[in-house]
Symmetry: none
Subunit: 413 residues, 2 copies
């Protein structure tokens, strides 16, 4: 089973927007055992879209398109597909009801533009978009499948995951491709590669390993392919068990696990709470924690102390400590963690102080120098990191590392 | 003059890596007045590469490829192109010298792999890669130009900017393509479309408008094409001036401006400071503010008050106010803003309280209900928003809307 992806939009073609949709779709198709032959991006022009469809259908069984389904005049995918598949546009009552519900919180009547979003080709299956007004469309023509989805990523992602992939799996008998991803924090890629070298070399031919590094997190994906799903699954489980015991407690989860969710689950289970005192991370740790639904169960809040005045005035770090050791020091970050835990009356606390850059570095404390401290009632652990020169990256790395230190503290408590 | 971009690599096709190269190349070509017709990504397979070349040369004058030029066995672009253009690979002494210099800090002799990097087709112009060992290649065949560049972004970027674009400009007399993007916060796409309908319909044929919405922000891009650069620029300026006066103070910037940077610049200019009290946004506003280098000049910090205990204990909101009006209310968010401004001793304050979801909504206050308040010494402005059901999106929208309310408050002060 083969596929092609076509992303539609002038903004991609002129380079204003990076096409992230096709990577998401390609990953999803691959994991389902559907080979991707090509990815094409075309502008919002009728001939460009139909030209790409004509080329794609020569080699691919399934063609997935995104983009060009908005309510404004520059979006022409729907009308182009209606012409290509010789459809009539008809008002779809279910979609109209859905759109009315979507905009029910807005004042006034439904606009003509929104009404038009409910007019859809009469010879395709409609895929309802739970998060927006642009519906997905599934056409079939001379043995080929053509699927058109909105370009807004979270709308498209939900439809791929919840509608398209399940429907394709039900329709075709696909070869068994199984992935298992081991999630690690706190270990660099090159150190990990040395550590697991022997294990990697001993992998059976049906399994492949990929390193997927991102700031603060390393994902090791084991992929297996075979006829027997059971056999592939068994082999992956055996090998991943070996790998996990090699790596130890730097493994924080599997597959789609998210570090901040893992930490959240540990706290919910123990009915414990956490507070954060952030300097260099500027709110990023709190943002990660509260990105998890239900985090109000265990997260009481934070103090962002971006100026020393707040470190002393609100967090009670003594002026002498800052004077003697500098704001980026073990002493300051320890005081921040110990004090926020008391002020917010929580079981755990996390604190950061570092030089995010691009300025503020010195030869002794270059940009990227970051102190992180985690504290419970009877343990206070501080650690220094060198996180590199790029501001955005070192803020993210510091935040991820903080959550990982917290995870380990909770587990060892 | 038309072009196509072909990015080559299995990692793109399986979705492991997001193709950022083509956006960079597309932007560069566009700014030089070369239209991009299509972007294609293909795997490291001979037939996929030659297939894409055969399709591209039918319509495009210039074809730019990236990727597949590394020293390892899976990289086959060079050998494929050599075959496609009936070349012989010959050792290029200049490139060999360059590679020797590049690796002179490494111990040992030049490896066979590196030697092979200096073997290049004999019927192309070689473009030296100042940052790596993979050379660029410029072929010409039956009136079409084919350029192959390495996939490593910073190597490729330098070659596009320093070698390819200047060479193309010298070779062809190119038309002018100019873009201007107007950045707006606080107005929905459909409302904006109605508001500027007459203006849009009156645009001269040389100009095109595109709507580029993202959570909390709407970008309107005007693109102009013509022979005379001066004429296009003038027309865009005239039309964008009209558009801006139509929209008013919801416009926060142009082109690559970022809202949090715009707010930062206003504060730096006025030598003023800000503090934040966040409930539902959980740190996102602080994170956006501190993502800007130099934000310590105007940002003192925040209190994240995720539990009512912190709203009363640290932010001094009275228990009665919470009891009588609920935590998500105008009264509470006003008290949060007024109090954080005093506690942190700043010129401005921002506060949020809302129901981020997915749970916690009621019929009177559904998920997405969010109160935002901004305060200065003599003004306190609170506003209620309905930001929809998706947690991540409504947190982001609330944060962007907060920054926009702050921007307006600063401007009106």
């Amino acid at each position: 089973m083969t596929s092609e992806i076509i992303t539609i939009g002038d903004e991609i073609i002129i380079g204003q927007v990076i096409d992230t949709n096709s990577a998401f779709i390609a990953t999803s198709l691959n994991e389902a055992g559907i080979e991707v032959l090509k990815i094409t991006s075309v502008p919002d022009k009728k001939e460009s879209i139909t030209g790409a469809l004509n080329i794609a259908r020569k080699t691919a069984d399934i063609i997935i398109m995104t983009g060009g389904l908005g309510p404004t005049g520059d979006d022409i995918t729907k009308i182009t597909l209606a012409g290509y598949f010789k459809s009539h546009l008809v008002l779809n009552k279910d979609v109209l009801e859905h759109i009315k519900k979507l905009i029910s919180h807005l004042p006034g009547k439904i606009s003509e533009r929104n009404m038009k979003q409910a007019e859809l080709p009469d010879n395709c299956k409609i895929i309802i978009n739970n998060y927006g007004s642009a519906s997905g469309m599934w056409f079939e023509d001379k043995g080929k499948i053509f699927i058109s989805l909105p370009g807004v990523s979270y709308e498209m992602n939900a439809m791929i995951t919840n509608d398209i992939i399940p429907a394709l799996k039900e329709r075709f008998s696909l070869p068994a491709i199984i992935h298992k991803t081991i999630l690690i924090s706190g270990v660099a890629e090159s150190i990990m590669a040395d550590k697991i070298k022997d294990w990697e070399e001993g992998l059976p031919p049906m399994l492949k390993l990929a390193y997927l590094p991102s700031p603060g997190i390393l994902r090791l994906r084991i992929s297996g392919t075979g006829i027997s799903r059971e056999k592939v699954r068994k082999e992956i489980e055996q090998q991943s068990d070996k790998l996990i015991s090699l790596i130890g407690d730097d493994v924080f989860g599997y597959d789609d696990d998210i570090l901040e969710e893992t930490v959240g689950k540990l706290l919910v289970k123990r009915k414990q709470t956490v507070a954060v005192a952030e300097s260099c991370t500027g709110g990023k740790i709190s943002e990660l924690i509260t990105s998890v639904a239900g985090s109000s169960l265990y997260f009481k809040g934070s103090v962002i102390a971006y100026s020393n005045e707040i470190k002393t005035g609100i967090l009670g770090v003594s002026e002498d400590t800052i004077e003697n050791h500098g704001a980026v020091s073990e002493e300051v970050v320890r005081a921040m963690a110990v004090n926020i835990r008391k002020i917010y009356n929580t079981d755990y606390a996390v604190a950061t102080s570092g030089i995010a850059g691009p300025t503020g570095g010195t030869s002794k404390k270059p940009v990227g120098t970051t102190w992180i401290c985690v504290a419970s009632e009877d343990k206070v652990i501080a650690r220094k990191y060198n996180l590199g020169k790029q501001r955005g990256r070192n803020i993210l790395k510091a935040s991820i590392s903080s959550l990982n230190m917290l995870r380990k503290l909770i587990l060892n408590n």
